[in-house]
Every structure is written in structure tokens, then in C-alpha cells.
């Protein structure tokens, strides 16, 4: 798979501080991370056509540089069964976000990934140690309990496995109380694509100040980056 050089220059020329979601997903996909099949559509007509070649259920998300937390403003709709529901969702989102943005760039139409555990994988650029990678379980585990594991890049497979095992909530991933089992191997793979020796954070440390995969949905076989945010460094070297 040839990795297309990421369009950081373009984003900077447009004075963006972050890549848009679709571009960010294409980037992480180029590094081997699974992402949902997706396409950016301009409007309802466009979307109806795009649905033809895709497998439901669908997800629709607003695309706008002004909107970071898309679901907070009603910019995300999930579990859409067919093209009709997609079209209705687009109309609904457009109404809801008009007060937030006048730069509506379109809509991201995606195949919805199977249900699984929600993890968060992140990357930051530490002023002293350089790129660092982080993992935690989504929701209260990260936000309330601060249950996250950090490592300095580049990480080894052993580092990645240790990160998972060091989470207080690690047991949840192994399927407690009849819950689903998460593929640790898929998470480790993802962590290495992000923070390994040829991963995103090391490869693009001049460009990427912050990377946030939230959620990373992990089934018993695969880990999907369902939302990806990539914040640019202030000045690329």
C-alpha cells in the first residue's frame, strides 16, 4: 500500500489547526489502521448516489472546520438503515448546525463498524521526551478515573502489551460479566501503527502535535478508528 503524503501543507495554507476528519482517517489508514469505509458528500443527492456502493447501516457526520465536538451540536447520526434515512439525517444535521458554523463543507458518509469496546488512543508531543502515545478505555475510565497508560515513542510490541495490561480497567477487555472480548492483538497493532518505530507519531513528529483516536472500537478481531483528530504543530520544521 503506497502512503500518500499527507496534505499538511494544504491544511496550513487554509489556516486550519487540525486536519479534517476524512483526511485524518485517510492518513491513519495509510499507516495500517482500520477505518470505516467512508466518503465525503456535498448534499442529499450526492449521498443517495454514494449509498449505492456501500453496506448499511450508515453513519453521517457533519464536516466543518468550526466544529470539533460534532455530537455535542447534533452533528452525528448513527444506525441509518438505508439511503432514505441518510438523506433525512443530512437534512436534520444541516438544520441543527447552522447556528454553529457558516462554513459547512459537507457530510461524511460512513459504513457503521460492528459493536465493540470503546478505547481511546492518543499521541502528544512532550517538550522533553518528544512523541508519546497513550491508551485508555473510553468514557468514564479516561475522563473521570484518568485510567490511561503512557509510553515514550517509539514503542515496542512489549511496551504496547504492557500499556494495555497496566490499565486498571484491563479486565473489562477480556469479557467480564458476559461482556464482549476485545482483541488485544488488534489494539497492540493499532498502538504500534501510532507510536511504533515507523508509526505516525515518529514519522510525522514535525507535523503532528496531537493525535486523538476516540473512539477506537475494538471487536474480537479488529480495531477501527471511528473518529480521528490530528492537530498540527505550530510550525513544521
Amino acid at each position: 500500500v503506497s502512503v500518500e503524503r499527507p496534505p499538511f501543507a494544504e491544511a496550513r495554507a487554509e489556516r486550519r489547526t487540525a486536519l479534517d476528519e476524512h483526511t485524518a482517517k485517510k492518513l491513519v489508514s495509510g499507516y495500517g489502521i482500520a477505518v470505516p469505509r467512508s466518503v465525503v458528500v456535498r448534499d442529499e443527492t450526492d449521498a443517495r448516489g454514494a449509498c449505492e456502493g456501500m453496506t448499511p447501516p450508515f453513519v453521517v457526520k457533519v464536516v466543518s472546520a468550526d466544529i470539533i465536538h460534532k455530537s455535542d451540536v447534533g452533528g452525528v447520526q448513527i444506525k441509518l438503515a438505508d439511503a432514505d434515512e441518510v438523506v433525512a439525517a443530512i437534512a436534520d444535521i444541516r438544520t441543527k448546525v447552522t447556528s454553529t458554523t457558516d462554513r459547512l463543507e459537507g457530510f461524511l458518509l460512513e459504513e457503521m463498524v460492528p459493536a465493540g469496546h470503546e478505547l481511546v488512543v492518543g499521541g502528544v508531543l512532550d517538550p522533553q521526551f518528544g512523541p508519546m502515545v497513550m491508551v485508555g478505555l473510553g468514557g468514564i475510565f479516561v475522563e473521570v478515573l484518568g485510567d490511561v497508560a503512557f509510553r515514550i515513542c517509539p514503542i515496542t510490541p512489549r511496551d504496547a502489551m504492557e500499556m494495555l495490561h497496566e490499565l486498571a480497567a484491563h479486565k473489562v477487555l477480556t469479557g467480564v460479566r458476559g461482556g464482549p472480548v476485545a482483541s488485544e492483538e488488534a489494539v497492540v497493532r493499532t498502538l504500534l501503527h501510532v507510536g511504533g518505530h515507523d508509526g505516525i507519531l515518529v514519522d510525522l513528529q514535525d507535523e503532528v502535535a496531537e493525535l486523538d483516536i476516540n473512539p477506537l472500537i475494538v471487536t474480537d478481531t479488529e480495531a477501527y478508528a471511528v473518529d480521528v483528530r490530528i492537530v498540527l504543530t505550530e510550525t513544521p520544521s
Partner: protein, 491 residues
């Protein structure tokens, strides 16, 4: 040994004049015999430095009985190491005058980057050192201790050449460590205080210690990473071949503010330090006491990377002490070794007095320990080691209790220590022996303890004051052993 750093010979060569200087200049000694430089000269003499010492002074002709010179450029021979302790404003011009004839200058003076508005002066200092053609240590530090070079910066410094190489960003902490040597038996291959690290930083000295044959264990007191990236890469490449113990100052928000005014340290993400330790097999400790304990354990023990220490046999006096020690070991993830029936039978056959428990913990009151004048310890530990290989044996002796309750004409604790060392002597590659010698501070007891400690350390068994310290240190030893087993290619 494992992979040797490509920069190793360069680091050895670079730092030779610092660790084994042939000539020393002292800036900051006065003709009247007062001043930090005068103390320094006296300390050098009593420490056995034999080379020429050149006091540098603008007017005096003679200081401490030595001919004085006007500038660093005027000395009869080039200077390997210059000790500089004068007012901060005067330092740059003194260094600039060196004219390429000085290898290292260590600047003790404070009032540079660590104080408000001192950054400019620190920059001038660095520029002056560069123009003077020398490498700079400090400013805002206390000196270098190097037994091989017979140099030190405190009085009554330990002269023995040891295996622990230390970099301390704090001078005072360096002094504390040197002072702990006598009390705890820690021996240094070198100890360098680096203060603000305006030029030479911890990373450079780590390169030296990693390459230096005398250094087997490295201790770092750091208030900031300086070059965190390089630190990570150095320690990762080392892969705990030389165990590294890190005491990081300023890990809390308030501690970080204190560090900023102490050495001008910059804030970083504290979580990076935990990550660094885990990824490099380094031991991150919380305080000076733990730093000394862990360095002592690593200095003294042969590490068991083939079978990391996971279980312990406890043997000693004090029922409650044994219970608490068991709790302390359990909390740190150690198992108390289950003694096999045959082992227990052999122990029972020793017919120790009532009150003795021969399951692990082996709890023997003073009266039982006095059996065979204390030599019973050899039979007890041999009974264990004949059939089993616990990761460690921890023998704890409450010295005042044993001394008060046994024949005063017999050195029962001494016999216990010797007996334990004999029993374990052939097994230290599989079973660590750790001694906990508890004292009440009585001078007579302390004197005995000092004696036993020397004997135990020579035999490869570290001595601790408390069971908690022993358990903590053993857990750190296990950290290094586990890392090595996980990361080193298996033979």
C-alpha cells in the same frame, strides 16, 4: 556485557581529565586561609591527591602553602580540572582567560539560570567557557567525587573505589549520598554534581558511566531531563545491563516549582518519567532513603535475570515482626516460599526450643537463635537450600534483643551473620541473601552492626535497617531482573 555504545570510547576519553585529573586549579581560595577554595584544597590533600594544585588569585603569591597564579592561563602546566567558587559576576572573565589550557571547569557559584534574571549571566558563562576552550560543569553545584582520581569536595569522604556512578543535579544531595556511604556501605565509582547543567549535562555523564568499566550501577538525581530524548535512547540501549536508579525531583506540582528555583528546571509531563522507567528497566524511586536502599541492593547483589526473584524465605526473631514483614512482602507481590515437607522435617529435627516456628516465616526467638552460639543459622538455611531455591532469603535480627538475652561473652549475632553467609555462599546466583539488622541506636549495637555489615557486603549480602526497606529494595531488584528476562535475548 551487552551492546556497547558506539560513543563509549569518546566519553571515556572526554571525561578522563575530570575523573582522573593530573593537575587541578582552584579559583576561590584566599591567602587568609578562608573561603571555599581553601577547604577544597585541604580536602584534596586529606583525600590523597598527589598532583600539582594551582591556586588562582589576582594578588596573592601563596595560598595554603602553594604558589598562586594570576589566571588560569599562567599555571606551569595545563589544567585538567578547575574548581571555581567565586562571585558569579566574576566567573565568565576567569574562564575566558583560560586560553585553551583547561579541560574542565566546575563552577560552584550560584546566581545564574536558577535565579530571576540570571539567564543572561548563565549565557555569558557558557560563551566564556567556549571562548576559553574548556568544558563547563555547573554552575550552582558542589563538585566532583572520584576515588580513582583522589578528588572529592567534602571532608571525611569515602576513599574506597566502588561501582556506583552518580549524577546529581543537586550538590547538597550529592553530599548526603557521600555521607551515607559510611553509614550504609554504598561505594562510588564517581559522583558528579551538575547543578544547572549549562554545558555538560546528565546525558554526557551517563555516556561516561555506561562506558566506564568501574561503574556497574548508575544513580541519577534529576530535576529535569535536559535532553529527554537522548536520555530515553541511552537508557533504552543500555537495557538495564547497568541497572539505573532514578530519583526525580519535582514530580508534584509544588515540587516542580521548588525545582524551578533550585536549578532552574523546566516543567515536563510527569507521566513521561513512569514511562521512561518502564520502557528502559530503570527503577524510579521516591526519596533519598529509597535511592540509597536500591543502589545498595544493586551494588551488592548478583541479579537473577534467568529467574527473577518472586518468592522469599523469612528467618529471624520477633513474631509480630515476622507477620508485618510477611504483609510487606505480600503487598509488593512476593510469595512466601512454601517449604516442602522434607524441609520442614529437617528443620524440626534441629529440635529448636518451643516458640520456634519452622514453617515460613521461620520465626525463632532469641533463645533459639542462640543455639550453637548462633551457628544454628547455618543448619536452618542449609535445610532450606538443600532442597529448595527461593528467590531470596531475608534474615532479620533484632540485635539489642539478641544481645540482651544471650551469653554476653559470645558474639551470637556475629555468629548468626557468619553462619548465614556460609550457608548461602554457593547459592547467591539463585538465591539472594538479604540481612535486616535492627538496632536501637545504642553505640555498642551500632558498632557491631557496622562490623557485620562490612562482612556481609563483602560476601554479597546487602544489609538494611528495616524489613520495609529490604522489601522495597528487593521489589526494585525484581523490576530489573524481570526487565532483563523480558528484553534480553535468552542464552
Amino acid at each position: 556485557m551487552r551492546n556497547v555504545d558506539r560513543g563509549a570510547p569518546a566519553a571515556l576519553e572526554l571525561f578522563e581529565p575530570l575523573f582522573e585529573p593530573g593537575t587541578i586549579a582552584v579559583v576561590g581560595a584566599s591567602a587568609k586561609g578562608q573561603g571555599p577554595g581553601n577547604d577544597y584544597i585541604r580536602n584534596l590533600r586529606s583525600f590523597g591527591f598527589q598532583g600539582p594544585v594551582y591556586p588562582i588569585h589576582p594578588t596573592a603569591d601563596s595560598i595554603e602553602g602553594l604558589a598562586a597564579y594570576r589566571t588560569l592561563a599562567d599555571t606551569p602546566e595545563p589544567v585538567d580540572y578547575a574548581y571555581v567558587a567565586i562571585g558569579s559576576e566574576m566567573v565568565p572573565s576567569v574562564l575566558e582567560a583560560a586560553g585553551g589550557r583547561v579541560a574542565f571547569a566546575q563552577v560552584m557559584s550560584s546566581g545564574f539560570g536558577e535565579v530571576e534574571g540570571g539567564a543572561d549571566l548563565q549565557q555569558r558563562l557558557v560563551d566564556a567557557a567556549h571562548r576559553g576552550g574548556l568544558r563547563l560543569l555547573g554552575p550552582n553545584c558542589l563538585g566532583t567525587h572520584s576515588p580513582r582520581g583522589h578528588i572529592t569536595f567534602i571532608d571525611r569522604a569515602p576513599t574506597e573505589l566502588g561501582s556506583v556512578g552518580v549524577v546529581a543535579q543537586s550538590g547538597g544531595l550529592g553530599v548526603d549520598l557521600l555521607r551515607s556511604s559510611g553509614r550504609r556501605g554504598l561505594h562510588f565509582s564517581g559522583l558528579v554534581t551538575v547543578g544547572n547543567s549549562a554545558d555538560i549535562g546528565p546525558n554526557d555523564l551517563i555516556d561516561f558511566y555506561l562506558a566506564d568499566a568501574d561503574t556497574r550501577v548508575i544513580g541519577l538525581y534529576l530535576e529535569e531531563a535536559k535532553d529527554g530524548r537522548r536520555l530515553f535512547e541511552q537508557l533504552r540501549a543500555n537495557a538495564a545491563a547497568k541497572p539505573v536508579v532514578i530519583l526525580k525531583g519535582g514530580r508534584t506540582r509544588q515540587g516542580q516549582r521548588a525545582a524551578a528555583s533550585h536549578t532552574g528546571a523546566l516543567a515536563g509531563d510527569d507521566r513521561a518519567w513512569d514511562a521512561l522507567a518502564k520502557q528502559t528497566g530503570s527503577v524510579l524511586v521516591e526519596d533519598l532513603e529509597q535511592f540509597v536502599d536500591v543502589l545498595l541492593a544493586l551494588q551488592t547483589l548478583h541479579l537473577h535475570e534467568h529467574q527473577p526473584t518472586e518468592d522469599v524465605v523469612l528467618f529471624g526473631n520477633g513474631g509480630g515482626t515476622s507477620v508485618l514483614a510477611t504483609d510487606g512482602l505480600d503487598r509488593r507481590g512476593f510469595a512466601l516460599t512454601t517449604l516442602e515437607p522434607d524441609t520442614v522435617r529437617t528443620l524440626e529435627d534441629l529440635r529448636l526450643p518451643p516458640g520456634t516456628s519452622v514453617v515460613n516465616p521461620i520465626d525463632a526467638p532469641a533463645g533459639s537463635l542462640a543455639a550453637d552460639e548462633g551457628r544454628i543459622a547455618e543448619a536452618v538455611l542449609a535445610a532450606v537450600l538443600d532442597r529448595q531455591r527461593p528467590g531470596a532469603i531475608v534474615m532479620h535480627l533484632n540485635l539489642p534483643v539478641i544481645v540482651s538475652n544471650t551469653d554476653p561473652t559470645v558474639d551470637v549475632p556475629g555468629n548468626l551473620v557468619s553462619a548465614a553467609l556460609r550457608a548461602c555462599a554457593g547459592h547467591l546466583d539463585e538465591t539472594h541473601l538479604i540481612l535486616v539488622l535492627r538496632s536501637d541506636g545504642d553505640p555498642g549495637i551500632e558498632e557491631r552492626k557496622r562490623r557485620y555489615r562490612g562482612q556481609a557486603h563483602d560476601a554479597g549480602a546487602p544489609v538494611f535497617d528495616t524489613l520495609t526497606e529490604a522489601a522495597q529494595a528487593l521489589a526494585s531488584v525484581r523490576t530489573v531482573e524481570r526487565f532483563r528476562r523480558a528484553v534480553w535475548p535468552q542464552a
